[in-house]
Point group: C2
Chain length 434, copies 2
């Protein structure tokens, strides 16, 4: 029997805007940041649960305040009870009616709940001596179904349907675990495609991506059509005619503009258009999908919760689901998202990059392969080579594939020194640029 | 020429859960609260802008942190520039790409931006010596259109269409101002209908509402069908067969449950069903509207932004739009919402109650009447008689009508003593109930 004795939070920021890493049409100067939480117990094992919300700078302090607001739900709690019934733990946090008012189930407060849920999963995986993907893949189908909050989902998927999906995959779990450990999971790279890079850097990075074995690259678009056509031409020439190039507009367009712009890039054969418009515009995504077919629509990194994912699928507005490890209510809600994708037959290609998103989200894709979808066809996890050196178990990507992590935990723990070195001590006024 | 010299924030909470005021199917024990901001300048007039976000207790501190995060955008700014171009001021706050990541345009950060925008409108109205509704109703149609961020709206309404709507109303402004000042704006009351009240209290308050001249009452439903049938029966008997009774489920149901439950209450002839399901479920609202017609669907108090309002209208999921003064990005975004309602021909019946929501939102309905929709037919502002005594210019509701406020400002200023007396100094751990 052990109890939670501390919930430490940190405001961690990296000055990435100085190099224009991560620059796109909507986010010209991100400072990659993490609102970070460490949950410690009085158990003799010394394990702590680590979780975080990825942000891009200003406002990371607000996200930390939201983590702080959850402390009262955690301090002094029995750890075995919390970890042994993560369905009840989700309800404890996600169904707090007063906190729910701040969303509901969206934005700063919802992401904070997700970070705490993820930190508890990290702790549970460490205690189990398993990487999170393997822990989840070892749970009975009944427990997996219980983790999902089906409120507002029952018109799209029921617990019975979810159970049938997990049960159908169960006999194949062992062989798929072996396959993952042997050959890993496909990755695609966004490294070449940031808007702030020169044409020469773009071309060089495209060639390097192909040489490194990645099966797909992604380019940011949406700031200027002539630039996009020039950059896509450079990229297409560099990678050859049959190599997939995804494009990403980061919510830059209205509906009509999206359809026109993507059709004006169709000759470069984009693999998908990502975030063509507001992540809230379900009907808009559906209209865009109709207007640009056969080019596919991908979205998800800013989709606030399972309810919006559900509708994007129901409306035919999302051909590729891009879950994000820290945007929604944690592992539990992402299991709901994976179930929706499986039900609707849509591939999941997670959003990653930022701070620690690759480390975290790989566990969800690998779990999905082993215990749910059972396939890697058309599936890839985004890969960006930023900031991995700050994590205790950084991702290993070789020849275009994520190698399956074997270290216990959820991959969400930063190095103690990195946490200390990058804890932000500035002021709000200082950080607003003139 | 003057500058902003301070942006003070306060965490204000009222222990309303002790009396079960405000209790409903999703919010059993709200502690009505306000994350409050005061913007002071060095001008000789001594005017300050007051704004707030309404919350229901825990997490109000997170909302205050979000207000604090905006201080850097405001301190030292030229006041005349900010107030003279509120379109640019909205973009300064709403288009901060780093803060936008925390939503985008939803939840804690978006509501904080709304509170600051509203505080600046309060300041502008005080400087103009006009109540906000009259200030807005005096602006040229071109300026009103410029206040709206049409990003993600152009498939539903264009600036040219918005301009035409404002211009069509312009010749009638003076007569409508006179009409408002003479006879006010209709109100309906939710006071009888909280779930925590006894049957006797329900019946008494229903009779009082009719006697007081209100044209409609509203009852909370959704916790227990047998209770709802009993309570609606009591209310219907108390008010008579032709008096409108709206019902409000506060997001309690999934789609199928909503349709079944409302149809099981149809014999009591509900005027509308409010928030039957998640405010994020646009397709769900449309399915419910089809499944319960002719009962109307009302929603909006938790609708995160104009993009979701747009889709609810496009999908046929909202027969009554319930704007809220502090849920979205302030006056500017609510003008977008009013324009959408006018374009789609849907009546606006604002959400109010809470802390100061009546005081704030009446200005928007009155502006809508004078300068946009031009009608009060089927329009009513919610009224709840809680906590008005804490405001400098409390609403005046007589014979079921809001009297048009004549005091300069946006109605958002609390009494200095109330602010001090109700500033919360508790801790997170204390506030989590066992």
């Amino acid at each position: 029997m052990s109890s939670i004795v501390s919930v430490d939070t940190r405001d961690i920021r990296f000055p990435t805007s100085l190099e224009l890493d991560g620059s796109d049409a909507m986010n010209p100067d991100p400072d990659y940041s993490a609102a970070y939480v460490i949950i410690r117990t009085d158990a003799a094992d010394g394990h702590a649960g680590h979780g975080f919300v990825f942000t891009i700078g200003r406002g990371n302090d607000v996200q930390v305040a939201a983590l702080d607001a959850l402390r009262g739900h955690l301090l002094g709690r029995n750890v075995e009870e919390l970890l042994g019934d993560m369905a009840a733990t989700w309800r404890l946090l996600g169904h707090d009616s007063q906190l729910r008012w701040l969303g509901p189930e969206k934005g700063v407060m919802h992401m904070a709940i997700g970070a705490v849920v993820n930190a508890l999963w990290d702790l549970r995986a460490k205690r189990a001596g398993l990487p999170l993907w393997q822990l989840l893949s070892s749970l009975p189908p009944e427990e997996l179904v219980s983790l999902v909050d089906f409120r507002y989902l029952s018109d799209a998927i029921t617990p019975a349907e979810a159970l049938a999906l997990f049960r159908a995959a169960e006999p194949h779990r062992a062989e798929r675990v072996a396959q993952l450990l042997a050959t890993g999971y496909p990755a695609y790279t966004t490294t070449p495609g940031w808007l702030g890079y020169s044409d020469e850097k773009l071309e060089r990075l495209c060639r390097e991506a192909v040489a490194d074995g990645f099966p797909q690259i992604k380019l940011k678009v949406g700031a200027d059509l002539a630039d996009d056509r020039r950059r896509l031409g450079i990229a297409r020439a560099a990678v050859g005619p049959d190599f997939p190039i995804a494009i990403d507009a980061n919510q830059r367009w209205d509906i009509g503009a999206a359809i026109g712009w993507v059709n004006a890039l169709a000759e470069f054969d984009p693999a998908w258009i990502e975030e063509p418009t507001s992540p809230d515009d379900i009907l808009g995504h559906a209209a865009i999908a109709r207007g640009i077919a056969p080019v596919r629509v991908a979205t998800g990194e800013h989709v606030q919760n399972r309810i919006v994912f559900k509708q994007l699928l129901q409306a035919g507005g999302m051909d590729v689901m891009q879950i994000d490890a820290t945007r929604v209510g944690g592992v539990n809600e992402n299991i709901a998202n994976l179930l929706l994708a499986a039900k609707f037959g849509v591939p999941v290609c997670p959003h990653a990059g930022g701070v620690g998103l690759c480390e975290a989200v790989q566990h969800l894709s690998m779990f999905d392969f082993v215990a749910l979808s059972g396939t890697m066809d058309g599936r890839m996890i985004e890969y960006v080579d930023h900031l991995h050196e700050h994590f205790v178990t950084p991702v290993v990507v070789e020849r275009g594939r994520y190698l399956a992590p074997t270290t216990p935990g959820a991959g969400t723990e930063m190095l103690a020194r990195s946490i200390d070195d990058h804890t932000w001590r500035g002021s709000h006024a200082e950080q607003v640029r003139a």
